[in-house]
């Protein structure tokens, strides 16, 4: 019997291929619930989930909230503007205070890479799910991206996946690289030299390309990353116009990829910067499908961590 042996899901790097497959296959069955007239099952009845978001998020936070509620869990949202961290409380103290309220799962987004490992050690009786930590990982996004690719191609093994944009600051890229490498895909990354970390090949089955053309040529999947203006400011590129010229996806360079290639984006999209509106609204884009799969994937994550044994 396949089972999931982790209390937490912090990084796809920590999971085996079989565990990733189990999460994806559970998500596939969870989708059925989302298409019912009554979108609720009693599985996590009486469990408490805390959404602890130190960074702004609408999509991920809402997606986790819907996922928890469809499994009948009780969910509380805590965001920095209303939390004690603005009053100077440390993450450790926040964790212990939350623990005293006996939650079952804490879903956290934090700007510090690795904050979840720190939190997990202090919360032996509570599961921790990473909803994004700094520039480290964003496992739910990686899983939903893989599920969306699997929907389209029926497999992940042997796919050529191009990831274009700010690789250095992208936890989405890191989770995809970790997950896709385990599933047997080949990842080609491209971006301005200031945005591609040296040694990126060491993260997995990755080839670093100097031009966007090289990365997306014959690709099955073209994944465009968001230019994170809140993170890198204006220092890493001269202008968004110049970025769009060299690393933006448009109907012309999309033709370099395979004719049936799928286009993905973790959102929110800067239209006209990393992607032209023609591509965003075109029939090769699977962006809304990604969002739809996000709820199912997060239901699978919540379901499996509750059954997991402490490591």
């Amino acid at each position: 019997m396949k089972s999931f042996a982790h209390k937490d899901i912090i990084a796809l790097r920590d999971l085996s291929k079989e565990e990733i497959e189990l999460l994806i296959s559970t998500a596939e069955t969870m989708r059925e619930i989302n298409n019912r007239p009554i979108k609720k099952v009693p599985t996590l009845r009486g469990r408490t989930v805390i959404n602890l978001f130190y960074e702004a998020s609408t999509r991920t936070r809402t997606s986790f909230e819907i996922a928890a509620k469809r499994l009948s869990a009780d969910l509380v949202n805590i965001s920095p503007s209303t939390s004690s961290s603005t009053k100077g409380e440390t993450l450790s103290d926040t964790a212990l205070n939350l623990l005293a309220m006996k939650p079952d799962i804490i879903v956290m987004r934090h700007s510090a890479s690795g904050a979840h490992y720190f939190l997990s050690k202090r919360l032996p009786t509570c599961s921790v799910i990473n909803a994004g930590d700094g520039t480290h990982e964003h496992p739910s996004q990686g899983l939903l991206d893989m599920l969306t690719m699997k929907d389209r191609f029926g497999r992940l093994d042997g796919l050529k996946v191009a990831i274009v944009g700010d690789i250095t600051h992208s936890r989405v890229a890191r989770s995809n690289i970790q997950g896709l490498t385990k599933m047997g895909s080949h990842i080609f990354v491209a971006g301005p030299p200031t945005m591609v970390p040296p040694g990126v090949e060491k993260l997995g089955n990755v080839t670093a390309c100097s031009t966007m053309k090289e990365a997306i040529e014959d690709a099955d999947v073209v994944m465009m990353l968001r230019i994170q203006q809140e993170r890198q400011g204006k220092t890493l590129m001269p202008s968004t116009g110049e970025y769009a010229k060299y690393f933006g996806l448009n109907p012309v360079n999309l033709k370099l990829a395979k004719p049936d290639a799928m286009v993905m984006h973790p959102g929110p999209i800067n239209r006209g910067v990393e992607m032209s509106s023609f591509v965003v609204d075109g029939n090769q884009a699977h962006i809304l499908k990604q969002v739809e799969n996000g709820v199912a994937v997060r239901m699978a994550m919540l379901y499996h961590v509750i059954g997991g044994e402490p490591e």
Binding site: S3, R36, K40, P42, Y303, G308
Partner: protein, 178 residues
């Protein structure tokens, strides 16, 4: 696994039991109009499909078979069950207003049936739910009773009962293990 196992129902016996249940279902419901079968994964689904073939053979009308996975509806999460792979729940019909015959291979505590009924009712309000089982082994923990029973088998709690299927998902035999 076990020291002693006895075949309590062979292939022919199962065939006969299913044929009799088919006739009983038709008698009680006066035909197959508005009737659908739902099997509990996985054994119940195989048996429901066998039963549908018989109903169609007798009445000459198609009977649809749905399948229900009860993993998300179990009442023993704190034990081993949560974290089990979740199977597919699939109704090729709307449950609303249907006469549903729920099929499971072995009726034991009744907890599986309770979970399956909750799962069905989350998809709509059926006109009624009837229960058919191949084996009723007793030891109920909930007030649940089968409408159609293949064979009543008094057992001890220490024993276990398994319905075995071949590669084509056809039932071969029912085995009692001590």
């Amino acid at each position: 696994m076990s020291e002693e196992s006895t075949v309590i129902l062979d292939g022919t016996g199962i065939e006969r039991a299913l044929t009799r249940i088919a006739h009983e279902i038709l008698e009680k419901n006066k035909g197959v109009e508005n009737l659908s079968l739902v099997g509990i994964r996985t054994g119940g689904v195989y048996l429901a499909k066998e039963l549908a073939k018989r109903l169609e053979g007798i009445e000459g009308a198609t009977v649809q078979v749905g399948e229900v996975d009860i993993t998300l509806y179990r009442d023993d999460y704190k034990g081993q069950s949560l974290n089990m792979p979740v199977g597919k729940t699939d109704f090729p019909f709307t449950v609303e207003g249907k006469k549903v015959v729920l099929f499971d291979d072995v009726l034991y505590t009744g907890r599986t049936i309770r979970a399956a009924m909750d799962a069905i009712m989350d998809h709509g309000r059926p006109a009624c739910i009837q229960l058919a089982v191949l084996i009723d082994r007793g030891h109920r923990e909930l007030p649940i009773r089968a409408d159609f029973v293949g064979r009543n088998v008094p057992t001890s709690i220490k024993e276990s009962i398994a319905v075995r299927f071949d590669d084509q998902q056809k039932p071969i035999e029912v085995v009692l293990e001590k």
